[in-house]
Each structure stands twice: as structure tokens, then as C-alpha cells.
């Protein structure tokens, strides 16, 4: 689906901006005015993506920790260890 080449209209940008605003969490939507500026929205989006990245980071931490505590308890590891004794 290739859009027409050439200048992007202001309308197109505004449409994308309002769609983007609809995606941001409820709390930030209330804070920004209904006619929020483009720059505010860009800032919100940036901040939101960063916070999501942080969540992924924290969850990866947690998951890798869980996986490492499993290693010792893993039945496969125990079987292999007993074979090597």
C-alpha cells in the first residue's frame, strides 16, 4: 500500500497525530489539552515507548532470574549429573 509520493499534507499529519494520541495511556491523555500540540504528543509518545522499554527490561531480568533458579531444580540436569557421577 504505497501512499502517493511528494509532500505530505498537514491533514495527513494531523490524522496520524490524533490516531497516535488515541494509543497513549488514558492518564497522559487527560493531562494534555484536547488540542494538544504536535510537540507535546511526540514527547508523550517518546516517554511512553521508553517506559515500555523499561518494563521489557525489568521483565527480562525477572524471567532470566526465574530461569536460572530452575536450572538446579531441572529434572534433566539432575539425571545428567547422576550419570556423570
Amino acid at each position: 500500500m504505497s501512499s502517493r509520493r511528494g509532500r505530505i499534507t498537514d491533514e495527513e499529519i494531523n490524522e496520524l497525530i490524533s490516531k497516535l494520541q488515541a494509543l497513549l495511556p488514558e492518564s497522559s491523555r487527560r493531562r494534555t489539552a484536547s488540542r494538544s500540540s504536535a510537540s507535546k504528543l511526540l514527547k508523550e509518545t517518546c516517554g511512553y515507548i521508553k517506559s515500555l522499554h523499561q518494563e521489557v527490561d525489568d521483565l527480562s531480568d525477572r524471567l532470566s532470574e526465574l530461569m536460572s533458579t530452575l536450572d538446579d531444580a531441572s529434572p534433566q540436569a539432575e539425571i545428567i549429573r547422576s550419570l556423570l557421577r
Binding site: 501512499s3 505530505i8 495527513e12 499529519i13 496520524l16 497525530i17 490516531k19 497516535l20 494509543l23 500540540s37 504536535a38 510537540s39 511526540l42 514527547k43 509518545t45 517518546c46 511512553y48 515507548i49 521508553k50 515500555l52 522499554h53 518494563e55 521489557v56 527490561d57 521483565l59 527480562s60 531480568d61 525477572r62 524471567l63 532470566s64 532470574e65 526465574l66 530461569m67 536460572s68 530452575l70 536450572d71 531444580a73 531441572s74 529434572p75 534433566q76 540436569a77 545428567i80 549429573r81 556423570l84
Partner: protein
Amino acid sequence: MQGPSTMSFRQAFLENLLVSLQLQQEHTSKHHSSSLGAAMSLHERKLAVKSSADVAMAAARGAGARWTRAILAPAPSACKVQRCRRIVIRCRGRKRSLPRSARARDGGTSSGGEVARRLVRRRTMALREVIPGGRDAAVDEATLLREAMDYVVHLRAQVDVLRQVSEAVQRFGSSILQ
């Protein structure tokens, strides 16, 4: 972006992720019991999990977005030169916009619109930094916004699925990853 496409995305993402984690788990237990070869440090494991999650997300998304390509096929080091150039240009641009108070005293020789445009430009560049592939000069503003929307939706799903997997592993133990 919503509805059935999200569900099948989550499914594909979950499958990709579990496969990666299973492989990682196998690798770890093999090395643990053999005492040959170094076991991965916790930090390395975390990076492996994070990388698996990103690759799983990008692969599950399929075609139709730029950010997936940036994750699955990162730019070669030859682009480092381009990146350095862009950073220098960005810094020069920032220096130019610094004496804002001086301009205000001027009594409006630079319009409010110009200041706003500069701010939008700066914010746009910041957004490019956090979206995979956003730094590419070929990505225009409209594309960047569309990429941002797509990326946000899938990032949210990534967070949800990672949380679900963590909880499942916590509750049911290693049987999930075997």
C-alpha cells in the same frame, strides 16, 4: 492493528519466544552439568532473554513495518559514519537554537511558529531514537508516526506476553520450558 491480527500476533510471538527460551534453557543446563565451557552470567542471560523477546516480536509481526527489519537485520557498521555525521549535525542544530531568551527580547523577529517548528523537529528526532530503524533518513515524518503507532501496539503486547510467561514459569516451573 487491533482485533484478530493482534491475537495471531500474540500467538506467534509467544511461540517464537518459548522456542528461544527452551533453547536457552537447554544450553544452560548442558553447560551447567558438563562443567566445561562457561555458564552464562545472569546479565548475559538477561540480554539473551531480551534479545529473544525482540526477535520474537519482530518475527511475529511479519511484513508491513520498518521497525521489524531494523531488529532482525541491524544496519552494518558501515553506517556508523553516517550516524556520526547525523549526530554532529544534530548537535550543531541544537547550538543554534540555544539563545532562545535573546530572540524573545528581539521582539518577535523569529516567529512563535518557528520556535514551535524547532521544538517539533527536536522531539521528532528524539522519537527516531527510540524506534528501531527510526534513525534512517529515508523515514519521513508521516512514516515515523505510523511506525510509532505500530511499534507501540506491539511493544504493549510484548510486555503482556513477557509477564504471562514469567508468571507461568514461576507457577509451573521448568515444565513450561521443556
